[in-house]
């Protein structure tokens, strides 16, 4: 509850702050808090990813982006009441939807009765891997992880092409040659 309150406070801070440097630092703190929430929920693998990616690498990449652009956000042109209304309605619908979810953490929920017992019982026998998360990710659901790796590959190649292609075109122009 304390963590969730802090998360809400930081979200308001991110929305209110106009200085993008502050926003990035706040987003890093948000990621660390989110990692703590995930540890409380016993999702250690996801918490580790959140702390390393959300708070570590993405903060650095956002700061590097900020280095290339301006660090102040433009002032908001007008009050955006319609998007606010849509956001509040969507949030209320999601909260309303959670009331029909089964209670959190109950072992006989629907999603825990389909393939989970087989994974938990057979992981060591099938794959000699005691960490079920790893065996599900890399073996039982290997296609999905291959897809995720391909997504990272595609995204990385895309950003690299964007950043490098623009630079080469600029150095082609005479008189604007930058130092290597």
């Amino acid at each position: 509850m304390v963590l969730l309150t802090l998360l809400a406070a930081i979200t308001i801070g991110v929305v209110r702050t106009r200085n993008l440097f502050g926003v990035i630092v706040l987003a890093g703190i948000y990621s660390f808090l989110m990692a703590s929430v995930l540890i409380v929920l016993d999702a250690v693998d996801v918490a580790m990813t959140e702390a390393a990616v959300g708070a570590g690498v993405s903060t650095v990449l956002l700061l590097a982006t900020l280095h290339l652009t301006k660090s102040m956000e433009y002032p908001r042109p007008r009050k955006a009441y319609l998007p606010l209304f849509v956001a509040i309605c969507t949030g209320a619908a999601i909260v309303w939807g959670t009331y029909s979810l089964p209670p959190f953490g109950t072992p006989d929920n629907v999603i825990h009765r389909h393939v989970v017992p087989r994974y938990l019982a057979d992981s060591v026998k099938d794959t000699m891997v005691p960490n079920v998360v790893t065996s599900v990710l890399a073996d039982y659901r290997g296609y999905d992880t291959l897809g995720e790796t391909t997504v990272i590959f595609t995204a990385g190649i895309g950003v690299l092409l964007l950043l490098k292609g623009r630079r080469r075109r600029r150095t082609d122009q005479p008189g604007e040659r930058s130092a290597p």
Partner: protein
């Protein structure tokens, strides 16, 4: 740059432990939390930390840009190649059970190989992105 001294020495002390922790997360992922993705991000974080403190040129000496950029497709190729190996040995795509003398060992080996692929792609992508950003900034 006297103020840098503590930072530089501290980072130099820290780096081996960060790398060791990344390797631990990678190879201990079968037993504890972690795996290729987390280890890849930690490895990339180590290179990025080094680059921030000592400059991008110094970082490119330990992790050359060409190597980092070729790691991006290499990891996907290792992952898909592990799948194709199962295909060539007469099973389905990404069925690792034929990679060793019996099915559980083969699947353990397959999981190890695809985690290595994930590690290579993730760390390569993150480091290459950082290099690209730092190049644009100059």
């Amino acid at each position: 740059m006297k103020l840098d001294l503590i930072l530089r020495i501290g980072v130099k002390f820290l780096l081996p432990f960060v790398l060791l922790f990344a390797l631990y997360v990678q190879f201990h992922g079968e037993l504890g939390p972690g795996g290729g993705f987390q280890a890849g991000v930690i490895t990339a974080g180590m290179v990025i930390l080094y680059a921030i403190v000592f400059g991008t040129e110094a970082a490119k000496r330990i992790a050359p840009q060409r190597m980092v950029e070729s790691m991006v497709p290499l990891g996907v190729l290792i992952y898909a190649g592990t799948g194709v190996a199962g295909l060539l040995l007469g099973k389905n795509f990404l069925d690792y059970s034929v990679l060793a003398h019996d099915a559980p060992h083969g699947r353990e080996l397959g999981i190890f190989l695809v985690e290595v692929g994930v590690l290579i792609t993730v760390s390569g992508t993150m480091t290459a992105l950082f290099y690209a950003f730092s190049e644009r900034g100059r």
